[in-house]
């Protein structure tokens, strides 16, 4: 009796297993997995890719990794030789590491044969695709061009009472700042903790590249530099008086920021601005769709203006953002990936990409008037181009970045003085370069 029951059940299980088995296979249609960071442009890319699926029948899935983990997760996948991701849309700094580490495939020949390089905005090609710089070797195609910029509360800046009071206090008219000194004045002016209003929100976070991307543009504009790209000397470039002054200036801005500002990364900065806490906020332009989205920003979505990062006493430099599209060398769909990238670079697709809200690398589209007026921030974005600069893109960049993040985070929280922090970075960076054999010859 008992054995009958058991055998019945076994038969049932077997039958079910057979019924279920063929189902696993009918999804074998071709598909492509793209990995990018978690932000609106990735949503736009998913939207754009629907056209590709309609044309070719190849399904495209854009996986979004949250920014704080973006680098770590992609690299653990690479070092673990995971074939999950076919196309990687990675930061410009990754080029050196992923080309030397053989994680990206070399696209030079393919690009020269299939893509009209002249149609792509030149600096973007250099920043997001070429490594070593100037060698003509390509590892990627630019996907998203980006720059750091500012959003401000138009309603506050254009309030007659505020303008009068500002004029009286500082002796010049209240307007989007052109220099860091003006930025500081305005930030100070709007800092009113009793009204829960602060002057500025900018990046100070220790996560991924937070404080580095926020601070480096200030450092460059004040006259500091990461080092000499020719001989990789760091001592005497990053730990100068100018750089120290810049770091002190950046630390000083905390006084005009909300209390939690030392933790601010892109998300927190957006939250602070969208909840009406700050008068100005620094962020990458590609995050600004959230600022003009009435769903997310209920307070100032229609009262926001945008300006480019101000100039410093010794120059005008802005942190570059944006990513290039590369093919993972562990991918099993390299040809599909190439097909996708070729499709992506066509002008009509790029036009649609720009219309959806992507920052196209296509020269003509980028410089067209339709692009500049597509969103309220595109004009300020386009104006930022001449001033863009990047972090190191060498294979050791992650260690260099980690050192900067730690020491600058220590400096703004008062654990180290500006000078100590910069000296520590200089020492550590030279140690990293030495270990990697840059000084050998």
């Amino acid at each position: 009796m008992k054995s009958v029951r058991i055998s019945l059940v076994l038969a049932l299980i077997l039958a079910l297993a057979f019924v279920s088995a063929p189902k696993a296979d009918n999804h074998q249609s071709q598909s492509l997995t793209i990995v990018w960071a978690e932000w609106d442009p990735a949503n736009y890319l998913q939207e754009l890719s629907k056209d590709f699926t309609a044309e070719t029948g190849i399904a495209v899935d854009v996986i979004q990794i949250p920014w704080p983990n973006f680098q770590d997760k992609v690299f653990t996948a690479f070092v673990g030789k995971s074939d999950l991701y076919d196309i990687v849309i990675g930061d410009s700094q990754w080029l050196g590491r992923n080309s030397q580490g053989k994680n990206y495939i070399n696209l030079t020949d393919w690009i020269n044969e299939n893509i009209d390089v002249a149609s792509i905005y030149g600096p973007a090609m250099t920043a997001f695709a070429e490594y070593p710089k100037g060698s003509g070797t390509y590892w990627a195609l630019p996907a998203e061009v980006d720059a750091a910029g500012y959003v401000y509360r138009k309603d506050l800046f254009e309030d007659p009472n505020e303008m009068k009071a500002f004029q009286a206090k500082y002796g010049y008219a209240l307007a989007p700042p052109k220099t860091y000194d003006q930025l500081r004045d305005i930030a100070e002016f709007f800092t009113r903790p009793d009204q829960d209003l602060y002057g500025i929100a900018t990046w100070y976070s220790k996560e991924y590249d937070g404080i580095t991307m926020g601070f480096q543009q200030v450092m460059w504009s004040f006259g500091g530099a990461y080092g000499d790209p020719e001989n990789y000397k760091v001592d005497g470039y990053i730990n100068t008086e100018d750089a120290a002054k810049a770091l002190e200036f950046y630390t000083d801005l905390l006084k005009f920021s909300p209390p939690d500002a030392p933790n601010y990364y892109w998300a927190e900065t957006l939250n602070a601005y969208n909840s009406g806490k700050v008068a100005m906020a620094m962020n990458y332009f590609a995050f600004f769709p959230a600022v003009i989205n009435p769903e997310v920003n209920k307070i100032s979505h229609d009262k926001s203006g945008f300006f480019i990062a101000p100039a410093g006493p010794k120059g005008h430099y802005i942190s570059i953002g944006g990513q290039g599209m590369s093919i993972s060398s562990y991918s099993k769909n390299k040809d599909l990936a190439k097909q996708y990238m070729k499709w992506f670079m066509q002008k009509p697709v790029q036009e649609k990409w720009a219309m959806l809200g992507g920052f196209t690398p296509h020269k003509e589209v980028l410089q067209s008037d339709t692009f500049k007026t597509a969103t309220p921030f595109n004009e300020a974005f386009a104006a930022s181009f001449p001033y863009l600069r990047d972090f190191w893109a060498v294979p050791e960049y992650a260690e260099l970045l980690e050192t900067c993040q730690t020491n600058w985070s220590q400096a703004i929280s008062g654990i180290k003085s500006a000078k100590e922090a910069l000296n520590a970075i200089a020492r550590k960076h030279e140690e990293i370069f030495e270990d990697a054999g840059y000084y050998d010859e």
Binding site: V19, T33, V35, V296
Partner: protein
């Protein structure tokens, strides 16, 4: 004197009440935040009175709508839990016709029918989540049938003694658990990433628990009943593997798994969590088996059973409670594990579990604390339930069986 003593007693109880409030507040705050709308979360001061909104929970659901079958399962789980509560409250006071057995049978039949129905309606997956991210209903039904069979012995007896009544209530509890899993399957198949990850946590946690408890029980029996050379050292070695910091072990494991292609696979994580739980299971189970009088076995041996049969027929039935407690602890450990899952799974991958996903989901336009709170709360709920069910074994569980009650 007496009054003073009584006053002191109440004073202490007041202190206890304050302590409970302090300890529960963060959990309450997770629940409250998850039920708030966006505007109520970003206020300057915390808001205690707010309009309850389910929008955060909706964000966890598939974007293309919740499959119908989910609701059916949900109703079943709720009815099951209600019946469970009903029989707990009114045990022994009900007419014979409304016995556990009859109701349980009817309700179980309905459950299996629902599974079949969902298999027929949902098995051609309506949306694809990711290339490898699919689950089959047949798997679930197989599990259900097995569970149903496991319950057969309980269903045969009539609820007379309180002990059997307690066991019989499993008739409702087990399908409720499977119903909950079925809801996760339906939602994951519908395209919800969150429930896909939750399901991964269930599969990996469940798989590693079964393996760890199985292996642990065998080893524990051997350690408890046989003479083993260097027994103390071996036991200590087993314990010490559990003491290693995860960050230390994860480096070589990462390299090893990368070389073997085990990263981001269910099998790889199950194997790893089994390793970490097996030492715990050995220790805990040894404690439980030590408590079973040796005379029972001697009697069975005299009756002509082999040692292995004795193990099956005497030891295992006697240690059901211990096995259940050990299993729950292993399950919770695997469920909560973070460091290994962080390094050994991919975002959007096949085997990514809930903890690394919940902690990194910020939202694409700023921190979405409401969504984080909703995800956290759903994740914490089963652990809270198990904590209450297991409360008499907690002490033993957290001290590797070193302290018994």
């Amino acid at each position: 004197m007496r009054d003073r003593k009584r006053f002191g007693h109440y004073l202490i109880l007041a202190f206890v009440a304050v302590a409970v409030i302090i300890y529960i507040t963060p959990i309450y705050w997770i629940l409250a935040t998850s039920l708030k709308g966006f505007a109520d979360i970003t206020t300057k001061l915390p808001k205690f009175v707010f309009k309850v909104s389910l929008e955060n929970y909706q964000k966890l659901m598939p974007s293309e709508g919740v499959p119908d079958v989910t609701h059916i399962f949900l109703v079943e789980v709720l009815v099951g839990l209600l019946l469970f509560g009903f029989f707990t409250l009114f045990k022994g006071k009900l007419p014979r016709a409304v016995s556990l057995r009859n109701l349980g049978l009817i309700w179980n039949g309905i459950f299996v029918l629902t599974c079949l129905y969902s298999f027929l309606t949902l098995s051609p997956l309506q949306t694809r989540l990711q290339t490898d991210a699919r689950f089959n209903f047949p798997l679930l039904i197989i599990c259900t049938v097995i569970a149903y069979l496991l319950m057969a012995p309980f269903k045969k007896t009539n609820g007379i003694t309180s002990q059997t009544v307690k066991k019989q209530r499993l008739v409702f509890v087990l399908p409720s658990v499977f119903g909950t899993i079925a809801i996760c399957v339906a939602l994951a198949n519908g395209g919800s990433k969150y429930f896909y990850q939750l399901l991964n946590s269930i599969i990996i946690g469940g798989g590693s628990t079964i393996l760890a408890v199985g292996l642990g029980t065998l080893a524990a029996y051997a350690f408890s009943r046989f003479d083993i050379a260097g027994k103390d050292d071996l036991l200590f070695f087993i314990l010490s593997t559990r003491m290693l910091p995860p960050v230390v072990v994860v480096i070589p494991i990462y390299l090893m798994y990368s070389a073997l292609g085990l990263r981001d696979t269910h099998f790889g994580l199950i194997l790893l969590y089994t390793t970490f739980n097996v030492s715990f299971a050995v220790w805990l189970m040894k404690g439980f088996i030590d408590e079973i009088p040796k005379e029972y076995e001697d009697a069975a041996l005299v009756d002509g059973y082999s040692r292995f049969q004795t193990f099956l027929k005497v030891i295992l039935p006697q240690s059901v409670t211990g096995i259940a407690a050990t299993a729950v602890f292993c399950l919770i450990t695997a469920w909560n594990e973070f460091a290994f899952a962080l390094v050994l799974t991919e975002v959007g991958g096949r085997a990514v579990t809930a903890p690394p996903s919940i902690t990194s989901a910020t939202g694409s336009s700023g921190m979405d604390w409401g969504k984080i709170a909703a995800g956290t709360f759903v994740f914490l709920l089963p652990v809270a339930v198990f904590t209450f069910l297991m409360r008499s074994h907690l002490l033993r569980g957290v001290t590797f069986g070193a302290v018994k009650k």
